[in-house]
Symmetry: C2
Subunit: 226 residues, 2 copies
């Protein structure tokens, strides 16, 4: 069913147009899936938003579900790429806590800068057909494993609290980050200050510890011997 591969390598402009159209369809699909859900979005809507007719979509995709799976995969991949970039940019001797902080920042960045794909992924994952979940599974699991290893190492080194089950901690953190796509408003301050706030809450919680213990924004507290 895959067309539009293996084209004459010279035809640059044609190739670009083709890639662009495919990408356009995915962009519009992500936007519509995010706003109205998968089932409520029709191929006619996607087509109209892309500037073509419904039937033409089948030149680029073999089914509605194929569009869905590609939108879902893209959502995860964008976030995963942003996380790896941030974490890999750390100096060699970075602590596990610093690695998690970088991952949190990267996750938020990927999440909030590719809004439609990531929001669609988070919003509709629980509602898509099982067959789509199955095809999306590998990409999703791989990313979950990444965080799993990050947290496991950090707890072994004693940097994370040990009175809360590790899986609860990991799911809580990822869940709280993911839900920011539902309420983050770029008009109310810069992304950087937002990320600092979220990071502070994840690491230190909401309580006021007194002026003596609170560091200036951007720096985070480490264990404070009594």
């Amino acid at each position: 069913m895959r067309k539009s591969r293996n084209r004459p390598s010279a035809a640059r402009s044609t190739a670009d147009t083709d890639l662009t159209k495919r990408a356009q369809i995915l962009d519009q699909a992500a936007k519509l899936f995010r706003r109205h859900g998968y089932a409520a979005t029709t191929l006619r809507q996607i087509a109209e938003a892309t500037g073509i007719k419904a039937g033409s979509i089948y030149y680029h995709f073999s089914s509605k579900e194929e569009i869905l799976v590609e939108v879902m995969d893209t959502g995860i991949r964008m976030v995963a790429a942003a996380v790896r970039e941030k974490v890999d940019a750390l100096p060699a001797g970075a602590s596990n806590r610093e690695r998690i902080a970088a991952a949190v920042e990267g996750h938020l960045y990927g999440l909030l800068h590719h809004g439609d794909f990531t929001s669609a992924n988070i919003r509709i994952y629980g509602q898509i057909p099982q067959s789509a979940k199955d095809r999306h599974r590998i990409v999703r699991l791989e990313y979950a494993d990444y965080w799993d290893r990050l947290f496991a190492k950090a707890q072994r080194s004693g940097e994370l609290r040990s009175d809360v089950p590790l899986s609860v901690m990991r799911l809580f953190v990822l869940g709280s980050l993911n839900f920011t796509v539902e309420w983050y408003n770029p008009k109310r301050g810069s992304f950087e200050s937002f990320a600092r706030s979220i990071s502070a809450l994840v690491f230190d919680g909401i309580l006021n510890l007194g002026k003596e213990l609170r560091r200036p924004p951007g720096r985070r507290r480490v264990a404070e011997p009594a």
Copy 2:
């Protein structure tokens, strides 16, 4: 359009049957909305799950959207009721921090014990028609205001950190709680221990502060003078 009100007050069994059927429809609708979304759920599915035929639903509801709005409202009301119960049970002199802790516990309780209505609400809110959002708006806003006041008081009394915008803090907390419906698994431990874990993370964050600073489960840290 409203039938089945003002019936002969003697007919207890008839009344029960009627209420039960209406409630059954809502129960099944909530379950299906949660799993497949609003648009993807058909009246035939709701009817079949309830043990009647699609046309019969119109005796109890005037439209699909009316079912939706009632499911959405119920989701919020159940959580709000659980929160008020927990907060109102506190002694008169309770601190704002204790009030928030009780609200967190109540919110989690309401959320995870009425899974279908609350999960449906959280999952599909962003996708329902604008007309349904408008009709759902008042119930939703009222509950948001409750938390708003709770947080505002706590920050004024200095119990909450002041280096993070209050709205970010409130939305972060509610969002992280809400997202637990996506991953909470009652088979992996009791609700009570789960609630303690989440509460600990919300108030204190994920870092290990050293054995000296960590209180036994259930108790929470207050400001610790240096």
